[in-house]
């Protein structure tokens, strides 16, 4: 029901809301004062405290190679967005951006566990003190890496006064250990920026609707997958697992080889051996010579033998089914006969 409602809203929006196409800034130019589509973008990314300048390299999406030590407490000021804000054509327009930073750090106090979470502060002009808990990969030798992403949707880019990537000292806590240790250095190896400016505010609404539709569809897909799994499990006629379980259950029943008990249980052993396909070729020794009698598989495994064997088994099965049903019918008739005292109804 919710899915239909969202679809109806979507169709209504398509009809009555004009100019919905987004302009995507996924190619930020690498040079100073470069031009990208209609907007002038400054390609410099500055590390204010450490005095380095980093260029936005050319690519899709654009990324910045930092590859230098990042002092604890400093931050990257991405001025490209500030210049974008100054452009009159972007006023009163919505935007969304995501920033991903890959970070490497070193610590002497790291615990030997592989999956350890740390707390990283990631600040920007809109979201303050956004704490991320990330999975940290152990690269060995005291060096560890993690990746952190922030997604922001702005209804109006004029709300964005500045944009700062602020990485604090990661505190690393070991699994099952309450103590946490700060890292001694921090090195940002890669920053990915994906900026999208909407041509109309209504596109933000559309974006949210599309996001909700996608989430709903994902949940419905998950639900359908679960239902299909249940159906498959119910309709699955494969009983190999049950057979293996039944076999393994009885594996622990050992029969000891005693003389008297072996004689008594000989009929059961005979029936049991009938049920097994394990043919052991019997052999006999006469005047120093050993004679072996091969199993029937020598005949049936020849070309065409398997088909002939199946045909014989169909004939066997037909006769057998006839006699079984006939015998069963006679047994039922005997049960119904009150004069037959073999099985009689007890008078209560």
């Amino acid at each position: 029901m919710k899915k239909y409602l969202i679809t109806a809203i979507l169709l209504f929006s398509f009809i009555f809301v004009p100019n919905l196409k987004a302009e995507k800034f996924n190619n930020v130019y690498a040079n100073y004062g470069g031009y990208n589509y209609n907007y002038v973008v400054d390609g410099i990314v500055r590390c204010d405290n450490c005095g380095y300048e980093f260029l936005l390299s050319y690519g899709s999406p654009p990324y910045v190679l930092v590859n230098s030590s990042f002092p604890v407490g400093s931050y990257y000021n991405i001025t490209a967005f500030s210049l974008l804000l100054n452009n009159p054509s972007t006023q009163n327009r919505g935007a969304s951006y995501s920033i991903t930073a890959d970070v490497t750090f070193y610590t002497d106090h790291f615990l030997p566990q592989d999956n350890v979470s740390g707390h990283i502060k990631f600040l920007n002009g809109i979201i303050q003190n956004e704490n991320h808990v990330v999975n940290i990969n152990n690269n060995g030798g005291g060096y560890y890496t993690f990746s952190i992403t922030s997604n922001v949707v702005l209804s109006d880019v004029s709300d964005l006064t500045s944009l700062q990537l602020y990485l604090t000292t990661p505190f690393v806590c070991g699994n099952g250990d309450s103590s946490c240790y700060p890292s001694s250095s921090l090195n940002v190896t890669n920053i990915n920026i994906d900026l999208e400016v909407y041509s109309d505010k209504s596109e933000i609404i559309m974006n949210n609707i599309n996001t909700n539709i996608n989430i709903t569809n994902e949940k419905l897909d998950d639900l359908n997958d679960t239902q299909n799994d249940i159906k498959d499990a119910i309709n699955n006629t494969e009983t190999t697992g049950a057979s293996n379980t039944a076999n393994s259950f009885f594996d622990n029943f050992q029969d000891n080889d005693f003389g008297l008990s072996s004689i008594i249980t000989a009929p059961l052993r005979a029936i049991n051996s009938m049920l097994s396909d394990n043919c052991v070729a019997p052999s006999a020794t006469y005047k120093g010579q050993t004679f072996s009698f091969p199993c029937g598989s020598m005949l049936w495994n020849r070309e065409g033998g398997e088909e002939f064997r199946n045909f014989i088994n169909v004939i066997y099965g037909g006769f057998l089914a006839y006699f079984v049903i006939r015998s069963l019918f006679l047994d039922v008739e005997k049960l119904k006969n009150p004069n037959n005292d073999k099985v009689e109804v007890q008078k209560l």
Binding site: S243, N247, D255, R269, V280, R309, G317, L320, K342, V343
Partner: protein, 99 residues
């Protein structure tokens, strides 16, 4: 599956028989070792005969499904009267106790 259940039941019964006869076997092997040897020889003969059965079946071409069907049918046919008589016996005991 049928074969597995039947095989398991037979293994269970054989194991139970071994457990029940274990004290007797121990007494015989301790005090009458020659009789125990005789039993063992007979048991070995049966063992050889039992091992001969799969060889015969392999030449007949019967597959395990058909054999399992035969064995399960006769197991069912011979077990049902036994269960009915057991139930009858239990009911008769109950009647006598009730009086």
């Amino acid at each position: 599956m049928i074969n597995s259940i039947l095989t398991g039941i037979f293994k269970l019964v054989i194991g139970l028989v071994n457990v029940i006869l274990l004290p007797i076997e121990t007494i015989i092997s301790t005090y009458i070792p020659s009789l125990d040897d005789a039993f063992t020889m007979v048991a070995m003969l049966f063992e050889n005969l039992v091992n001969f059965i799969p060889w015969v079946i392999s030449w007949t071409g019967l597959n395990s499904t058909i054999i399992g069907l035969i064995v399960s049918y006769f197991t069912f046919k011979l077990t049902v009267p036994f269960i009915v008589h057991t139930v009858k016996l239990a009911i008769s005991w109950y009647d006598k106790l009730k009086v």
